[in-house]
């Protein structure tokens, strides 16, 4: 495949996914995997899994796995095209909806929609926490790190970054092996 064809394929695939990624990129991970590994043969299963782990380890939003898929397939241009395609369409939609949302701020139905969506969203955040805890805490030492960082974040004003730094340092020192 010519490199320009590959970039167009990346742009088409991710801009389509951008508009169906309800609940964020993690919801369309299975589809990205299917396209990248099974349909287009851009990479192996192992490649995809390690790209996902790197995206989780990097700071920033979780759409970064799409950046890495683009990078793996077509280098830096691929990374940029994948990022733009994944974020662009949904950003435009959000901008337009947010304007309408704020215009109807004081109406009864708009307040009810906001009040009704909120608890469901909070339930989703609890869910993400739960699913990640189950995946991350393979030992009692890791569970202790999770509990400690939750406690520090909830009860103190200490910047949570220091929890992450301390946990990474413990890992480098070999505490979790």
């Amino acid at each position: 495949m010519k490199s320009s064809d590959t970039l167009i394929a990346i742009a088409l695939q991710f801009s389509g996914l951008s508009l169906v990624a309800f609940g964020g990129v993690n919801a369309v991970i299975p589809e990205i995997h299917r396209q990248a590994v099974e349909v287009n043969h851009w990479m192996t299963d192992q490649d995809f899994t390690s790209l996902f782990a790197i995206a989780q380890a990097a700071p920033g939003p979780n759409f970064l796995v799409t950046t890495l898929v683009g990078w793996k397939v077509a280098g830096l241009p691929g990374a940029l095209v994948a990022t733009l395609a994944m974020c662009g369409p949904s950003c435009l939609l959000t901008y337009w909806v947010a304007k309408a949302w704020d215009r109807y701020r004081e109406t009864q139905w708009r307040i009810a929609v906001g009040a009704g969506l909120a608890p469901v969203t909070v339930g989703f955040v609890f869910s993400s926490g739960y699913v990640l805890v189950r995946a991350a805490d393979a030992s009692w030492r890791l569970a202790l790190v999770t509990a400690a960082s939750a406690g520090v974040a909830y009860f103190t004003k200490i910047n949570p970054f220091w929890c992450l730094a301390a946990a990474a340092a413990l890992g480098v020192a070999g505490v979790f092996r």
Binding site: L19, G24, A27, I54, Q56, A58, P59, G60, P61, N62, F63, L64, T67, K72, A79, M86, C87, S90, L93, T94, Y95, A98, K99, Q108, A112, A115, L117, P119, V120, V122, G123, F124, F126, S128, G129, Y130, V131, L132, V133, A136, L142, V145, T146, S149, A150, A153, Y154, P160, F161, C163, L164, A167, A168, A169, L170, G171, V172, G174, V175, R177
Partner: protein, 182 residues
């Protein structure tokens, strides 16, 4: 919205959220936007996140668009989203290149495992902080929906879009009746 929110301060705020956000940006977004900058109240934050969650695309990217647009129109949105996305894209591609060389080192693996464990603790604390104002102001119509969303997604592992579509109409209906009753 405080007068301090300009395209430049939005860029800086979302840049710092992105850079600090190992293993998820949400805890840092709430801390920066609600507790440090005061651009959103606690209730506004949850409501804005709800709006962003019910639209397609990465939630935190959508949030940067909404918060930016409210403060300074499309210029605010552009500044916020570039602040949020720019540095992580550079960092992650660098990491991708490094990983092919150093990924097998036990120190690197250990650091990743530790980061993951701490990051989900932060997320759990954020969830509790987001739940508190809802439970205090209207326990009866929020607790059942928080619980139902959690059970459906975390325990039963149903796809999130379906849960959103199935649960929110009921939750919105309950909120509507609740307001008329009060």
């Amino acid at each position: 919205m405080t007068p301090a929110a300009t395209p430049w301060t939005l860029f800086k705020a979302f840049f710092s959220i992105a850079i600090a956000g190992f293993g998820g940006t949400l805890p840092f977004a709430r801390r920066t936007l609600v507790e440090r900058k005061g651009w959103l109240s606690a209730e506004d934050f949850t409501e804005t996140l709800s709006l962003c969650q019910s639209l397609p695309g990465p939630n935190i990217v959508n949030m940067s668009i909404v918060v930016g647009a409210r403060a300074c129109g499309w210029r605010g949105s552009v500044a916020a989203v570039i602040g949020l996305v720019g540095a992580p894209v550079i960092i992650v591609t660098t990491l991708g290149a490094l990983y092919s060389d150093f990924g097998a080192l036990p120190q690197v693996r250990g650091a990743l495992v530790g980061l993951g464990a701490a990051a989900c603790g932060l997320l759990a604390a954020t969830a509790v902080r987001m739940a508190e104002p809802l439970l205090k102001s209207r326990l009866v119509i929020t607790a059942p929906f928080i619980l139902a969303a959690f059970v459906a997604v975390a325990i039963l592992r149903w796809p999130l879009p379906y849960v959103l579509l199935g649960l929110t109409p009921i939750s919105i209906g309950a909120a509507f009746l609740w307001r008329r009753r009060v």
